[in-house]
């Protein structure tokens, strides 16, 4: 008995000691990045390449530069399965890790983003919801810890309608047209509805909504309704298996694929590949370049894959969601780099990283320096604007590759900015938040 007690004490002591060493290890020059990922479950085919791209970028920076400005990057993945409750649990588990806690958090889920906004703001951990999340959080005075750049769903919806107008021969030609939206019946899928309703009112088209229960493996009834109502154009806000099922069902009812446009989360290889030939001609919005012909992707290949490392197969590294994961990491790390200039090259707190995010200035020259020329567009974030440039272009699936189908489309900032502000101020009123005065914000 005494022996067992001694053994337990020894083990407990060793654990404490190891804990001490671990704490000491954190105290060294390391920046902790929490990773909320979904590598299992129905959304895994989309979650895996994104998580791989993000991780590969951090590993490449560690291998090539020893981290960001000499601060080594450490990260830990937590599997949330695209569930809001698990996402919050992962955030709570990871937020205190590292010598300075979580630098920032990328939820990769609009639902999780909504669930984290108040918590993360209270914890002073910035949320980067790159191309997803709550669009009105682009209004920085009300949402100091939320960043939606480089584009929001409202801008996506606006850009797609602009593209449709171009195809129809002008905005005036939209009058009398019918445009439908098939959407994931969740916070994410509902996000563009207000914008589309507003645009329908302004441009004179009829807007029809077709919700799909997640995950969306059976959409026959929805597509029979669509066939019955015969919209001139269909938009899709889907995710995971819903996308490929929708494309197949659209083909099954004979809907013209070149009049079917998805948002950027409905426009990757896992969305079109299962549909086979049925997917040819399908279009999707995108806010970045894809492929492997970029300096940063070449560096990932050189520093990781050529050495037998890397998180995925080498032929996957140019795919849409992989590249998007790389871009998300690139933006995040550039925010760290920006913050280092003010706070010094050391592990940063969430509050310091927030400053870096709010002062992010990705000029064309800096983008070239980062090896991302053609991959992302220049962008400047400010206290007022957490939403970035909002530039979107269309791509079209040719059966094997995505090809660009339009030039960059500038969103109607004059229409959307007041909408962000009004919605954010309504939120502020509801939550008793006093908006920041950006003229007094320290830069």
């Amino acid at each position: 008995m005494t022996f067992i007690k001694s053994a337990i004490c020894a083990l407990a002591g060793a654990t404490a000691l190891c804990g001490g060493f671990a704490a000491a290890a954190w105290a060294q020059n390391e920046q902790f990045i929490p990773r909320l990922v979904y590598r299992t479950g129905p959304y895994a085919p989309n979650g895996i390449p994104f998580a791989d791209g993000y991780a590969d970028y951090l590993d490449m920076l560690n291998a090539r530069d020893g981290g960001v400005d000499g601060v080594k990057l450490v990260y830990e993945e937590c599997e949330d399965g695209y569930n809001n409750d698990k996402g919050v649990e992962c955030y709570e588990r990871l937020k205190g890790k590292g010598p300075t806690g979580a630098a920032l958090v990328d939820p990769l889920s609009t639902g999780i983003t909504y669930a984290l906004i108040e918590r993360a703001t209270a914890d002073k951990v910035p949320i980067v919801s790159m191309g997803y999340g709550r669009a009105d959080a682009s209004y920085g005075p009300v949402f100091p810890y939320v960043f939606t750049y480089p584009v929001t769903y409202w801008e996506g919806a606006d850009a797609i309608i602009t593209y449709i107008a171009q195809q129809e021969g002008g905005v005036a030609k939209l009058k009398g047209k019918k445009i439908g939206l098939i959407y994931h019946d969740s916070a994410y899928g509902k996000e563009p509805i207000a914008t589309l309703e507003k645009l329908a009112q302004l441009d004179g088209f009829t807007f029809e909504k077709f919700p799909v229960s997640p995950p969306g493996i059976d959409q026959k009834a929805t597509w029979l309704q669509i066939r019955q109502k015969r919209p001139n154009w269909m938009l899709m806000w889907g995710w995971g298996v819903m996308n490929s099922t929708a494309i197949k069902e659209a083909a099954a009812v004979g809907y013209p694929m070149d009049h079917f446009i998805g948002i950027w989360w409905s426009g990757a290889e896992p969305d079109v590949a299962p549909a086979g030939k049925a997917g040819i001609g399908y279009k999707a919005a995108v806010f970045h370049g894809t492929g492997t012909d970029f300096g940063v992707i070449r560096d990932i290949k050189h520093y990781l894959y050529d050495k037998g490392q890397g998180k995925t197969k080498v032929d996957k590294i140019g795919e849409v969601l992989y590249v998007r994961g790389v871009i998300n990491a690139l933006y995040d790390m550039e925010a760290l780099h920006t913050a280092h200039k003010k706070f010094g090259n050391k592990p940063l707190t969430g509050e310091q990283v927030r400053w870096g995010l709010e002062n992010l200035d990705l000029t064309a020259a800096r983008i070239t320096e980062l090896g991302a020329e053609g991959l992302i567009a220049p962008m400047k974030i400010s206290c007022e604007n957490h939403g970035g440039h909002g530039l979107v272009r269309m791509q079209q699936w040719d059966g094997a590759h995505w090809k660009y189908a339009s030039d960059w489309i500038e969103p109607h900032h004059d229409l959307l900015d007041p909408m962000y502000k009004a919605s954010a101020l309504a939120y502020a009123k509801e939550k008793n938040i006093t908006p920041r005065d950006c003229s007094k914000t320290q830069s």
């Binding site: 059976d218 029979l224 099954a252 299962p274």
Partner: protein
């Protein structure tokens, strides 16, 4: 008044205005129901023979489809991949009987049910570990073009699925009625102890029934995988089979078919004509509501064995 409009006047008006569309929706629903039945059949087989509600049936559909498409992608010919997957599913049945079921003989059904939850997690992990988590395209040349028959839209794929389900049910009926193994299976389903007392080997029967359920899972996996691509979501088709089972009865093969047809047609009609009154996307929960209504009147389902408790 608005509610009356949304729930009664508008849907009835829409049906009266365009009865052809109703027919199209009903036919589409029936054909979708056949796909639900394919999954439900696997549940019924195992429940009939062992009284176990096999929570892992959905994952068995996924696992079988993953093995099949994975081997195809490795360059194996179609027939070889099919036979090899059948062999894998039979081997799986052996392992499940030896490792999971045999040690749990005579345990409460809830214990066996929990064990099948364990099998679910194991097979999910194993499938992803061996074949990866990406979406795999499955195209074995099944026709998929839309057809207009008498002004009604149907898809060639749905008709093929209906034919496959019909063949499968006919094959299972022959197997159960005309073979000695089938008679033994029915004996075990009627009474385990009595079957054992006349020398029917329970363990062998379990292996056979899990193998047959695995092969039914493979057929369901091929049909659903052709439709959705082979990915984790295939496991979720089990959720579509549950209301079918409640409705048709857990022990009846014809019940699984009829239940599937009722659920398929019912949910599609509800979604199209009554969905707008609830904001849409009602078909998933509507199927369960429909099943619950049936439960109130026939707890054993349409074709299930009547529950008689003697006290």
């Amino acid at each position: 008044m608005e509610l009356l409009h949304a729930l009664v006047i508008d849907p009835i008006g829409a049906i009266a205005d365009n009865p052809e569309f109703l027919l199209e929706v009903v036919i589409g629903g029936l054909l979708t129901g056949v796909m639900y039945s394919l999954v439900a059949l696997g549940f019924v087989l195992i429940y009939k023979a062992s009284g176990i509600f096999n929570f892992a049936q959905g994952v068995m559909v996924l696992f079988a489809a993953l093995c099949f498409v994975g081997q195809l992608q490795l360059g194996m010919p179609l027939v070889m991949a099919l036979l090899s997957t059948v062999a894998i599913m039979i081997a799986l049945a052996f392992v499940i009987e030896r490792v999971v079921l045999r040690p749990l003989v005579n345990q409460e059904p809830i214990i066996l049910f929990m064990a099948t939850i364990g099998i679910t997690f194991f097979l999910t992990g194993l499938g992803q570990l061996v074949w990866g988590g990406d979406v795999k395209t499955l195209d074995i040349g099944l026709p998929k073009d839309p057809l207009i028959i008498g002004g009604v839209l149907v898809n060639e794929f749905d008709l093929t699925a209906a034919a496959v389900a019909g063949l499968l049910v006919a094959g299972l009926a022959l197997f159960f009625q005309k073979t000695s193994i089938g008679r033994a299976l029915r004996a075990v389903a009627d009474d385990h102890q009595a079957a054992l007392s006349v020398g029917i080997p329970l363990k062998t029967i379990w292996v056979i029934v899990w193998s047959v359920a695995g092969i039914v899972g493979l057929v369901a996996g091929i049909m659903w995988g052709t439709n959705l691509g082979v990915q984790f979501s295939l496991a979720l088709v089990a959720l579509k089979a549950l209301p079918v089972l409640i409705l048709g009865g857990f022990t009846s093969i014809p019940g699984a078919i009829v239940g599937g047809l009722i659920v398929g047609a019912g949910e599609k009609v509800a979604e199209v004509f009554w969905g707008p009154a609830f904001g849409g996307a009602i078909e998933d929960w509507f199927a369960y509501v429909l099943a619950l209504v049936f439960l109130l009147f026939r707890p054993q389902g349409l074709f299930g064995e009547r529950i008689i408790e003697r006290v």
